[in-house]
């Protein structure tokens, strides 16, 4: 299946921006089920785009304008070929006691250390009894599938009520959130049960009835022994398949926000952006198109006030 992804962002600043440096983590990765065939990235200022691998090994675009500006638009177009596959066919069903023993071994825990530890956004509240329990009798995969369904059925998709750093106790209490929140919860519960699980950032080709953040989507990948990494989308109660186009993964959202940037200006700003994913089968009118005007879910954007904050008092301590 061929997909075209069209990504557009517009940043308007109240005051001139003196200096800025952006990183876009929006390029679909090449992996077993998807091939990036074409990538074009442009901006309205004509600043040359740098391509660079970030600390976790994912390709990024970087833009650092050398002139003062108030408005900058970014536009990316990707063409991705995605295999059509049935994730259930890849599963290797086997005696789950072997798998459980493997999860308990030190070798396994050390190898998968990064995707077993909790982070601020994937930390389960201590006081609360775990709201979902794994069934020792069934396979790890079946448990993960049940967890996926449990999240889908228990929590309501509601945008604009949570932030990128909302913690899980809040999600568990209010029982609503967006794909990032559900994915964080999925990661936390799976890791709690010893299954290495990573947060995935990517695009969702929205078929009829799919829920998603209208911009970039998030789901989880768990390491199922004997099978490998399997994608679970708790927002839609699906296994990740041909409609899930992966960009990057990490421990949580903070490892893979689509945009990170350092911007030196004094005033506020408005940012709008949209993502359009179309398949060769779609006609343009069927493609899901949505606009957003928000700070939330946008990425880690830090705005520096000029002169202020340049010399933080509580900076790093020497030893």
């Amino acid at each position: 299946m061929d997909y075209t992804i069209h990504y557009k962002a517009q940043n308007i600043y109240k005051q001139p921006v003196r200096s800025a440096y952006w990183q876009f983590l929006i390029i679909p990765e090449n992996n077993d089920s998807q091939t990036l065939e074409k990538a074009v990235f442009t901006n309205s200022l004509g600043v040359p785009v740098q391509q660079s691998v970030n600390g976790y090994g994912f390709e990024t675009f970087r833009v650092a304008p050398k002139t003062t500006f108030k408005t900058i638009n970014f536009e990316a177009k990707f063409r991705v070929f995605k295999e059509i596959f049935n994730p259930f066919e890849q599963l290797n069903y086997r005696d789950s006691s072997i798998d459980r023993e493997l999860l308990r071994s030190l070798q396994f825990k050390v190898t998968h250390e990064r995707f077993l530890k909790s982070t601020p956004t994937t930390e389960l509240p201590l006081v609360r009894a775990l709201p979902f329990k794994f069934d020792e009798e069934s396979s790890l995969f079946d448990n993960l599938k049940t967890l996926n369904a449990w999240i889908f059925n228990t929590f309501k998709f509601k945008s604009q009520v949570t932030q990128i750093n909302t913690n899980l106790s809040e999600i568990l209490e209010h029982k609503h959130g967006v794909c990032q929140d559900f994915t964080h919860l999925f990661c936390a519960m799976a890791r709690k049960n010893g299954i290495p699980t990573r947060y995935v950032s990517g695009y969702l080709h929205q078929g009829i009835g799919y829920l998603g953040d209208s911009q970039m989507h998030a789901w989880a990948e768990s390491f199922v022994p004997g099978t490998g990494w399997v994608g679970f989308d708790p927002t839609n109660n699906l296994l990740a398949a041909e409609n899930h186009i992966k960009v990057a993964h990490g421990k949580d959202y903070a490892d893979c926000p689509p945009i990170k940037g350092v911007v030196y200006t004094t005033g506020g700003n408005t940012t709008t952006y949209k993502v359009l994913v179309t398949s060769a089968k779609d006609t343009m009118s069927q493609g899901q198109n949505s606009d957003g005007s928000m700070q939330q879910q946008m990425g880690t954007m830090t705005q520096h006030m000029e002169f202020q904050d340049l010399f933080p008092k509580n900076g790093p301590k020497d030893q």
Binding site: Y21, S52, L106, K117, V262, D318, Q319
Partner: protein, 486 residues
Amino acid sequence: MPETQHPIFSSYQKDNRFYDEIFDQEGNVKEMYKTLFDLYSGHSVQDFAKLNDKAKASFFNQGITFQVYGEQEIKEKIFPFDLFPRIIAPEEWEHIERGVLQRSKALNLFLWDLYHDKKIIKQGIVPLDLISSSVNFLDQMNGIDPPGGIYNHISGTDLIKHSDGNYYVLEDNIRCPSGVSYVICNRTALKRALFGVFNHYQAHTVTDYGENLLQILESVKPNGVDEPNCVVITPGVYNSAYYEHSYLAKSMGVELVEGRDIFVEHDFVYMKTISGPQKVDVIYRRIDDLFLDPLEFKPDSSLGVPGLFSAYKKGNVCLVNAPGTGVADDKAIYTYMPEIIKYYLDEEPILNNVHTYHCSRPDELKYVLENIDKLVIKPVDEAGGYGISIGNKLTKEEIEKVKVTIQAHPRKYIAQPIMSLSVHATYIEETNSFEPRHVDLRTFTLLGKDKEFVLKGGLTRVALQRGNLIVNSSQGGGSKDTWVLK
């Protein structure tokens, strides 16, 4: 006792609970200090008061100051310098030098392992928890091969001399150990004030530190670079060690830069100069890991350079020390140093470790809670002597408070027996005389590609308050010139 005849030593009260570096058990001056002692005894009290003022003024005028955190306003202070030097005998130094080098090498191999195969954890020698719960373990460093295979190019090892007369290592500092500029400035100040005294001893020079540091930096240049351009990056003038940053840049003859002076383009690092961008190959960074690159670490850091980590990962620039070294100088890791040395070097540790109780282990936690009055409680991840509680100095209420804190976060604390730091004759302004004060020793070890160096000397830090055991400069300590004899 003969020394009481000299007025400046009249209020020197010997305390046999501590190892005295100058006087033996009977109160006689040790052989090594005799010449010095005689020379000093010849001076009057007034002479000393005058010399002391001169030394202080010289430090202030040179701008050799530091700043203290945690106070409402930032205060610029001079690091009090003591006129009575500490002397270390050649054979004693040889032992220290071999010991600190051994530790630095073992830590370097440990770091390589932690960021590659993690064999020492897979074999159960160091617990997995120590890295998975460490904020200083950087996931981004996994699989990166730093140039020359070196992580801790610069190590500052803190040693004390216990009442048994043996040296013990208190901690290994392998993030941004500071203090070396004071070592050199102390020597300069002492030679200025008391050249006639210095001349009577054959002490090793300490002024070769800068050239050795530069050689270390150049030895870890990126592949394909012939003549590397090295710089020192500082958080800026408000950092407590800014003087040192500028001093080191000057003594190496390289540029001192701040984050805003350099930029990254296509994974190469450049310095802004009046004649255009100039490529930078090796960066001695005095900025903490999390402030290095806002794109990779703390997004609100304005001290760092966007894109720096990618340039490092690609091998286009070398960062000194490597990011992520902090995981190995965690005080909880310290307690595994004997095992770490044996594992990687197949050698016995040359220097002693202080026995440590891990509050994360239930039986040891129990002991700690029952014996707080005999122990020093330390947080595992604070630098600069912050957050330390010394058991026998606490009131009952304070002990209860400490107990609650430890029980709430056992992983965050370790406890050690109260080590009695040796004492050294120290000039005290208030009494206009020499009194015993506790001292420690920070040594500086450099590791490069096919090169190693230990500074023959070190920073002897003095706890200026009577009876105080914390010698850190942030906590109001002073320092002494330290002579390693030839």
